[in-house]
Symmetry: C2
Amino acid sequence: MKYNKNRKNREKLAISQIQSAGMRLTPQRLALAKRLFSGPDRHITAEELHSELKYADVRISLATVYNTLNRFTNAGLLREFFVDSNQSYFDTNTEPHHHFFYEELGKFVDVPINNLNIEFLTSPPKGTQVDSVEVFIKLSKVDSSNKK
Amino acid sequence: MKYNKNRKNREKLAISQIQSAGMRLTPQRLALAKRLFSGPDRHITAEELHSELKYADVRISLATVYNTLNRFTNAGLLREFFVDSNQSYFDTNTEPHHHFFYEELGKFVDVPINNLNIEFLTSPPKGTQVDSVEVFIKLSKVDSSNKK
DNA sequence: AAATTGTTTAGAATCATTCTAAATGTATTG
DNA sequence: CAATACATTTAGAATGATTCTAAACAATTT
Ligand SMILES: [Mn+2]
Ligand SMILES: [Mn+2]
Ligand SMILES: [Zn+2]
Ligand SMILES: [Zn+2]
């Protein structure tokens, strides 16, 4: 039965992520890791994850969600990013990439790094090196009233 | 005397910005507007502005700094942006542009829009339109130990 | 199984920001 | 140039996301 095999594999992946961060395996961490690391990449806040877990009847305190997200981030399993001043988002995709932001939905979608070609027409300032280049593209539903 | 003429011009610019936002001219707003709108573009937090003003012996409450920055932002004179979860930054440059971020200094420098050429190798999702494209480039001091 | 070490938790603390309501300032009117 | 209306400033309280504290609990080592 393929269904149970996938379930097992997702669990294994989650466990290996926790252990790769040098953290003990606990039910709370496993529940978080499964939601974060099995399935498509996510862009999510601590509060959102906490409600997801509550909805799934996983008992976990908000403090533990924060602790775990921060430790995953320090271990390089997540990346934290910021789009408004009152909440942090965590990105499960830690490779260099860009983002579409759907304004109406408030949702992010990854843009693979080689979907964009960025050409510097002026070189970066002397004495500096470029550590990262991130593009943030705001999208909205097509507005057909925008006729030329 | 050129010095006093520049001073007067900066004041006039500040006044016209306040009035273009449909706001009454007050000493607090004038002090803020002068520091924001005369001189090179800035990327600054409310607290930073508040200390600058305190240092210059301008008496203004932090609440007024926040109120004014928010009203300037709503009027399109400033743009708010976010780089960490605990403070908002305000950008005096409201035209589309990109940013260098000097990691060691925690400072931002504008990159004119046509210093970068961005080519989409895949078109944006059907039914959506691109509202803005912003590039954020992290810079650090050259690390000569990075030899190939 | 005792001892050690790591984890979770509730609730308190922190801190940027917003809100409240009273005092003060600016504009308008007669 | 009062009197009134309306806008702004302010101190301090409230809010809300995040972090901290310290006690209970769980996992690991001996
Ligand atoms: Mn953090
Ligand atoms: Mn704001
Ligand atoms: Zn992403
Ligand atoms: Zn800028």
